[in-house]
């Protein structure tokens, strides 16, 4: 009796699973037009394709600042390759606490600032460097880039205690909608 109940239950479960929807991928049938086709004798074929968005953003490499250097080249953030959906852009935010920390004594710091300057654009355009803290870098075209610099003031160098200092800058990349400007 127990055996028959088990068999019945298992069978029911197997049938239930097999009754679930199954995706079937069948090739579409070609349209045939012949003497029996009503006027107008036309047929249509829809061509579709899908291109997935892709992009590559390059960010600065690890950099050593020379002692007493007020301004140091920090590479660039560049959209080196992009195939974006219409209405989409790449946004890069830069996270930094703005302080180089002494390896031996974390309480001793050297303040610094990372600046970005738009490196490409319309001919004759003048782009001023700006502090990346609180600002976003946006890209929508391959080849767009921002030149980066590390800046430390003379006063901060003069007050700095001896030792090795370092800090990590994080670049967050996201794929977003281009913000729409509200109607005036």
């Amino acid at each position: 009796m127990k055996k028959s109940r088990f068999i019945a239950g298992f069978s029911a479960m197997a049938l239930a699973i097999s009754a679930m929807s199954i995706s079937a991928f069948a090739a579409p049938e070609p349209t045939k037009i012949d003497q029996t086709t009503p006027e107008p004798k036309q047929g249509q074929a829809v061509i579709t394709t899908t291109i997935e968005p892709t992009y590559i953003v390059t960010i600065p490499a690890d950099t050593t600042v020379a002692f007493n250097a007020l301004s140091t080249d920090f590479g660039s953030v560049e959209l080196t390759q992009a195939r974006l959906d219409p209405g989409k852009q790449i946004k890069v935010t830069v996270d930094t606490d703005g302080e180089l920390n002494n390896a031996a004594d974390a309480s001793k710091v050297i303040p610094y600032m990372v600046t970005a300057q738009y490196a490409t654009g319309e001919p004759g355009g003048v782009y001023m460097p700006f502090n990346v803290k609180g600002s976003d870098l946006t890209f929508d075209t391959t080849g767009q880039a921002f030149a980066m610099e590390i800046q430390i003031t003379e006063n901060d160098w003069n007050k700095a205690y001896a030792g090795s200092y370092s800090d990590t800058v994080t670049f967050n990349v996201s794929y977003e909608d281009v913000p729409t400007t509200p109607d005036p």
Partner: protein
């Protein structure tokens, strides 16, 4: 039993079907990092060029080049050479004479290599500086009366001190008084 097992296996194969999964597409975010580093040296080299007749030491050491600890305040000792006294001291053109205490000047905290030009102006001390000669003449004056006889009574020599002049005069007066009293007695 075998038939039942076969039947169940066939049913299992029917249930093994492909299922399509529909997953939400998340916004594509990816972080990247870059490290910034620097090294601040623990000492600096300072060079001191001395003009004039001063003797200069830095932190107790003589020389022209010194390695000092970063952010330390080196002490410069400035002395005049024998027979001279300091009248003015310039550091990189700035007059620091009034800032020198007990012959020492404290530099501001050193935060980079640097060159300092120290100009020490001096003047010769007055002839009191030939004190070894004056001390000898004092001894000779005190020592013998013959010496006092050979020198003028008032002791007007350039090397005689005021004390010596007073002693000479006193001795002369005493001698005159003795001679005068003897004469009176004879009379």
């Amino acid at each position: 039993m075998k038939k039942i097992a076969v039947f169940l296996l066939c049913l299992s194969m029917l249930s093994a079907s492909a299922l399509t999964a529909y997953a939400d597409v998340e916004p594509n975010t990816a972080p990247g990092e870059a490290t910034i580093g620097t090294v601040v040296p623990d000492s600096h080299k300072i060079t001191i060029k001395v003009k004039g007749n001063g003797v200069v030491k830095v932190n107790g050491k003589e020389g022209t080049e010194f390695e000092v600890e970063r952010l330390s305040k080196p002490v410069i000792e400035i002395k005049a050479k024998d027979g001279e006294k300091i009248t003015k001291v310039l550091l990189n053109g700035e007059d620091i004479t009034d800032k020198i205490v007990d012959g020492k000047y404290i530099l501001p905290a050193v935060y980079e290599d640097g060159e300092y030009e120290l100009t020490v102006e001096t003047e010769k001390l007055p002839d009191d500086s030939s004190k070894p000669d004056s001390s000898k003449s004092d001894n000779s004056n005190k020592g013998t009366s013959d010496d006092s006889a050979s020198t003028p009574a008032t002791g007007l020599t350039a090397s005689t001190t005021g004390v010596t002049i007073t002693l000479m005069g006193t001795v002369a007066l005493a001698a005159a008084a003795v001679i005068a009293s003897k004469k009176k007695k004879d009379e």
